[in-house]
């Protein structure tokens, strides 16, 4: 129970925001930021903790979004059930893609390539098949009632996405402290050595992929409910693949709060840039690309890593050897 205190504190602090903030613009910004953070939380499980870098997480985002949209619009299914199905669909997509890729023993660059390819195939398919609305996309009917997972007030949407993020944080923390998590991290550090210690690397990676896909799919489902529109470029576009990996990398891979921190930083950066130079297409992604390069160059372990390095540096400079050792235990 003790390990969940930091999460509870952060979530509680964030939950207080609507009490002080009235502006829809700011709330919208926070909602989108939290949604991207959620997608990043998903990526972080597979990429940060598992060390398998997927360049095609859009495959799960889009699958979640499309599944819930199609079920609501074409089959009249309730939005909440649609949400659950969207998450399940994402998990299944993760199982298929992960199963194929890991069974084939794909690692590193090849894994990144194949995930990219899968996302692209889904994007093209979604842009031509009628069930996904082909080039036009799908519009979810406006129905501002809680039972349809739509809300009059933006604050409610904010709480919804915050709840999802809180759940993903708890899941991440649980994994971190579990045997599965220890095995996953071991596979990341050295797959062969892990296998020699009894870790079934395939099952561990596949499990991580499924959880990762489910969480990112949830972000996609939320997108569909909030914006009420989805098309191939939005659901399966490279923008979300990039943002899903960017937020953990910048915030700190393999750290539970990494994606949240990263999302706040990255989105703030994007908004500031837009305020200064105007909202031209390509500006935000251009900045994200530059930030990615700079972060890898100067702070490869992201913000969390940089903070840890700074703490270590300060400890070395100012603490006695005994205090240093005590600090290292903490």
């Amino acid at each position: 129970m003790k390990t969940f205190v930091p999460i509870a504190v952060v979530v509680a602090a964030l939950a207080l925001v609507p009490a002080f903030v009235d502006s829809n613009v700011v709330l919208n910004f926070l909602i989108v930021t939290l949604m991207v953070a959620l997608a990043g939380q998903g990526w972080n499980i597979l990429g940060g903790y598992g060390g398998q870098y997927s360049f095609g997480h859009a495959a799960f985002f889009g699958t979640g979004a499309y599944m819930t949209a199609i079920l609501q619009v074409r089959c009249g299914v309730n939005a909440w059930i649609g949400f659950a199905c969207g998450v399940a669909a994402g998990a299944i997509a993760g199982a298929i893609i992960g199963g194929l890729a890991f069974r084939a023993g794909l690692r590193s660059s090849y894994f990144a390539l194949v995930t990219l390819a899968f996302a692209e195939v889904l994007r093209i398919l979604a842009s031509v098949t009628p069930v996904t609305g082909a080039g036009v996309g799908i519009l979810i009917n406006l129905d501002l009632r809680a039972v349809s997972f739509q809300f009059q007030s933006r604050a409610m949407f904010y709480f919804a996405i915050l709840a999802l993020v809180a759940i993903s944080l708890a899941v991440t923390q649980l994994i971190e402290r579990s045997r599965f998590g220890a095995w996953l991290i071991a596979v990341r550090e050295n797959e062969d050595a892990a296998q020699a210690l009894g870790v079934d690397a395939f099952r561990v990676k596949l499990g991580a992929m499924i959880v990762s896909a489910a969480i990112t799919a949830a972000a996609g489902c939320f997108y569909a409910q909030y914006f009420l529109f989805i098309d191939a470029g939005i659901g399966y576009g490279t923008w979300i693949s990039i943002e899903a990996l960017l937020t953990p990398i910048i915030g700190g891979v393999g750290a539970a709060f990494g994606p949240l921190l990263g999302a706040l930083m990255v989105k703030s950066l994007g908004e500031t840039a837009k305020l200064i130079t105007g909202d031209a297409p390509g500006l935000d992604l251009m900045i994200y690309g530059a930030v990615l390069v700079l972060v890898i160059r100067f702070a490869p372990r992201g913000l969390v890593g940089a903070l840890a390095d700074m703490r270590e540096y300060l400890a070395r400079r100012f603490l006695s050897p005994r205090k240093r050792a005590l600090a290292a235990h903490g």
């Binding site: 579990s178 045997r179 095995w183 050595a193 296998q195 020699a196 210690l197 009894g198």
Partner: protein, 250 residues
């Protein structure tokens, strides 16, 4: 005589045109120390890889604890009780010593608290008690070798394959590690060690196999093997053989 814990029967490994191991047969009894020696490139590590599941034998079979385990993947063999260390140490560099050993301990202990307790115990047994919180990449080579050993021990193996665990250690470090290895057989763990440090082989091993160019060319007690002319010709050389023999006689 009791069934050996490990029986490797006529095992070969072919990589394309190269026959790395040629019809090798060896065995290791439970709770005893066996050595595997031979010149570099003889195929010793390849043999270890086949026993631990990292390579599939082209022919032959591997029997462990009475069961045919030929070709099973490494993690399955680890669960059966076969643990190995690597010739080039493979620590989980960014994790602490404790967290490294924890991964091994988790094999038999699902709960984190129990696994942590096990990890700390094994760490202390192996002499790493003071360094449990250090990141693995800050350890010296001797420390990393102990860590490698600790990790493998934490899986509570019945058979431990040590691949040149003494390589890179200075004489005093070697002297410090030998009792730890000897203690393994007291704990009931069978050990097969690939080793070039002949003094260690002579003082630790009860049975020795000699591998040269992929083939077992001799086996027997350390004294007998060291006197074997084929072994002297293929590996030891006369000068070294004499030195080892006289050192061991005292």
């Amino acid at each position: 005589m009791a069934e050996p814990l490990l029986a490797v029967e006529n095992v070969s490994c072919r990589f394309g045109g190269l026959l790395a191991v040629d019809a090798a047969t060896l065995s290791a009894p439970a709770a005893r120390i066996t050595a595997l020696i031979g010149p570099n490139g003889a195929g010793k590590t390849t043999l270890f890889s086949m026993i631990s599941g990292f390579l599939k034998p082209t022919t032959g079979r591997v029997l462990f604890d009475g069961e045919n385990v030929t070709g099973e993947p490494p993690h399955r063999l680890a669960r059966r009780g076969v643990a190995r260390t690597f010739q080039v140490v493979q620590p989980f560099a960014r994790l602490t010593v404790r967290d490294n050993i924890l991964v091994g301990a988790h094999l038999r202990h699902r709960a984190r608290a129990a696994a942590l307790a096990m990890a700390e115990q094994v760490g202390r047994d192996v002499g790493l008690g003071e360094m449990l919180d250090r990141p693995a990449h800050t350890m010296t080579i001797a420390g990393r070798k102990r860590l490698e050993l600790a990790r493998a021990l934490a899986t509570e193996p019945k058979l431990l394959l040590l691949d040149e665990v003494l390589a890179g250690l200075n004489p005093s470090e070697i002297r410090d590690v030998i009792p730890t290895i000897r203690a393994l057989s007291t704990r009931g763990i069978a050990v097969i060690m690939i080793e070039h440090v002949m003094q260690a082989v002579m003082s630790l091993a009860e049975h020795v196999f000699v591998l040269a160019e992929g083939r077992i060319i001799a086996e027997g007690s350390p004294a007998r093997v060291v006197a074997d002319p084929a072994v002297v010709a293929a590996y030891l050389g006369h000068g070294a053989a004499d030195k080892v023999r006289s050192a061991h006689a005292h």
